[in-house]
């Protein structure tokens, strides 16, 4: 009998953070423009101490203004999607649940696009306008997960197969809607079709949106983490969890809203990157077990690692041209989905 302790939790997270750091350095080094590892180390220290003064301007532009922000964006998006996927899997009792598979990402994309469309008609201050897209994406995500949850129920219980089909059909419908909306939007400033449908990290963040994302992520992921022990019991079903003292309706609301915030934020800055929320929790579960008190932080770090790695490959495999990062995650994630589905049916 070896219950989880703070010490073990922190050690494991530190190990994952170490891996993330290595992946970050690799991602800084690799790309269409080659950088030596030694030079990179020297310059990173220099950058940390004196900001970018004294570095060659072109070099500094590539490393610190293009690659580094993109890596941070990948970390945020990966962590958000993986935590959202982990909590959907527990709450819906379905190992195949993922924001993308359930159509929640597409719902968030529709919400974000609608926000972009109505923004000119609202007289908003620039600060409020920045909030509009993430909020639209959040609402789109929340409405979609509520709809899919209701569609996926049979006789008052969630039915795994019905739920998955409901999610996949909803995603397909919403993706068609996205194409329609983008047609109307043509010529205006918005991500292209590949951005919304496949996901892409190449669009840099506007400066004033950083704080929204940071606060949103920590509040939402923190809220989900407070329910970690409850999620462990929910794996055995809502009725059993209730008999063990879990306030099931409260946990359900907290987790759905928080996971919708995470998905909405991620989609509003990177489009619908798929399968991160499916692949990462499974790998983490294989390594660390299914205790959500360790699984949630591990998934956050693992999601960050996965997306930074996938984006690095997306930038390099076909260099100098780039693939959307969502294409890389789908290449890895879709076969895993099939494998899990077959194993479950067997």
């Amino acid at each position: 009998m070896r219950p989880l302790t703070w010490r073990r939790l922190l050690l494991r997270c530190a190990a994952l953070a170490g891996v993330l750091l290595i992946v970050m350095v690799l991602a800084l080094k690799l790309g269409a423009v080659q950088v030596s590892l030694y030079g990179l180390g020297r310059d990173l220290i220099h950058y940390a101490l004196h900001s970018s003064a004294g570095l060659s301007s072109e070099y500094s532009l590539i490393i610190f203004d293009i690659r580094l922000p993109r890596i941070f964006l990948g970390i945020f998006v990966g962590a958000s999607l993986a935590v959202a996927g982990t909590s959907f899997q527990a709450l819906l009792r379905n190992p195949l649940a993922d924001p993308y598979v359930l159509g929640v990402s597409s719902g968030a994309a529709v919400g974000a696009i609608v926000a972009v469309m109505i923004e000119p008609h609202l007289a908003l201050t620039p600060d409020a306008a920045v909030l509009l897209t993430p909020v639209g994406a959040f609402l789109g995500a929340l409405i979609t997960i509520a709809g899919v949850y209701l569609l996926g129920r049979r006789d008052g219980e969630i039915d795994s197969t019905t739920l998955l089909l409901a999610g996949i059909i909803t995603a397909s419908f919403l993706n068609a809607l996205i194409m329609l909306l983008l047609n109307w939007l043509s010529g205006r400033d918005h991500g292209g079709m590949a951005f919304w449908l496949m996901g892409d990290l190449s669009t840099p963040l506007q400066n004033n949106v950083h704080w929204v994302i940071r606060i949103g992520f920590f509040v939402a992921a923190g809220a989900i983490y407070t329910t970690a022990a409850d999620l462990n019991l929910l794996l055995a079903g809502e009725k059993e969890a209730m008999h063990l003292g879990v306030d099931v309706p409260r946990v359900r609301v907290v987790v759905y809203v928080a996971a919708s915030i995470l998905t909405g934020l991620a989609v509003s800055v990177s489009g619908s990157i798929g399968y991160v929320g499916l692949l990462v929790p499974h790998v983490m579960r294989m390594i660390f077990g299914s205790d959500h008190r360790i699984l949630i932080p591990a998934a956050a770090l693992g999601g960050a690692i996965a997306v930074v790695l996938a984006d690095m490959l997306a930038r390099t495999v076909a260099a100098p041209s780039e693939l959307p990062v969502g294409a890389m995650t789908a290449l890895a994630g879709a076969p895993l989905f099939i494998y899990l589905l077959r194993r479950r049916l067997a």
Partner: protein
């Protein structure tokens, strides 16, 4: 809990050893659509049980056994009357308090992802933990004692999906004990067990009721096991409680034949408790004669 009590292996909290479960004129109606007549009703009924007693709820399918159990557990609110445990109405308890007082053993406990037996039993400590609920040494001790009390120490490190039905039922029971409840509820606990495991489980329950001073309420189909082990039985038919009392009081031939719709005889067994023999060996309570 004092360290002395812990060393003796007791699993119950030191207090609440003289609790009373009281079902007072409780009724319930279920309807899918509030505008229509209810699909199912449970007529007002009353019964009582005390610490150390086993109460068996008997009756054919769809007689309201499970509904009564849910009313007792407090997950359903009665239409009229109330269920109290030591004076507190069970359906008004917070989920946390309810889980500290009432433990429910369900028919089948299935897991989405595999876990080990000790992890499963530690879940019973959930209602006692704080925010992130990292388990304390005391939690571990309680879980160990619970596994020991049901004779499942050897299963501690086994995976839940790799042990037999009888072994799994023991671990599930151990989790209920780890909740340190006053009231232990079991919904057809013997359903998927072979005869040896059934008798084993009920022996364990008998022992737990007297040693840990639980009030035990069991919903079951097994007429003879109930007669053998229960202090009280409540006989239900189509939402009505026909009789509550000791097995020898309730086990009357005409009454059982009418409720279970099958010819049978009732005789007194060697232990002085009634035994039921079903003639046709067919439907109804037939499996109880095995």
């Amino acid at each position: 809990m004092s360290s002395a009590a812990r060393n003796m292996g007791a699993v119950t909290a030191a207090v609440r050893t003289n609790a009373t479960l009281s079902v007072e004129q409780v009724s319930y109606a279920y309807s899918a659509n509030p505008a229509q007549a209810p699909l199912f009703t449970l007529e007002a009924m009353s019964l009582q049980a005390r610490s150390g007693e086993i109460l068996a709820i008997l009756g054919p399918n769809a007689c309201g056994k499970s509904t009564l159990l849910k009313l007792i557990a407090g997950v359903l609110a009665p239409l009229s009357g109330k269920v109290t445990l030591d004076g507190i109405a069970t359906h008004t308890m917070t989920p946390r308090l309810r889980a500290q007082r009432i433990a429910m053993v369900q028919q089948e406990s299935q897991l989405l992802f595999p876990s080990r037996a000790w992890e499963f039993v530690l879940q019973g400590r959930h209602p006692y933990g704080k925010t992130l609920r990292f388990e304390t040494d005391e939690d571990v001790q309680v879980a160990r004692n619970a596994l020991a009390q049901v004779g499942a120490e050897h299963l501690t490190d086994r995976w839940m999906d790799k042990i037999s039905g009888g072994e799994k039922q023991r671990v599930i029971l151990a989790r209920a004990l780890a909740q340190q409840p006053t009231l232990l509820l079991l919904d057809e606990p013997t359903l998927h067990l072979d005869i040896a495991a059934q008798v084993d489980l009920l022996d364990t329950l008998r022992k737990l009721a007297s040693v840990n001073r639980y009030i035990v309420v069991v919903v079951t189909h097994e007429l003879n096991l109930a007669a053998q082990y229960a202090d009280q039985v409540a006989l239900l038919q189509r939402g009505r409680c026909l009789r509550v009392g000791s097995p020898s009081n309730v086990y009357q031939r005409e009454l059982l034949e009418q409720v279970f719709q099958t010819p049978l005889t009732v005789e007194t067994g060697p232990s002085g408790r009634p035994r039921v023999h079903v003639w046709s060996g067919g439907a109804g309570g037939g499996s109880g004669a095995a």
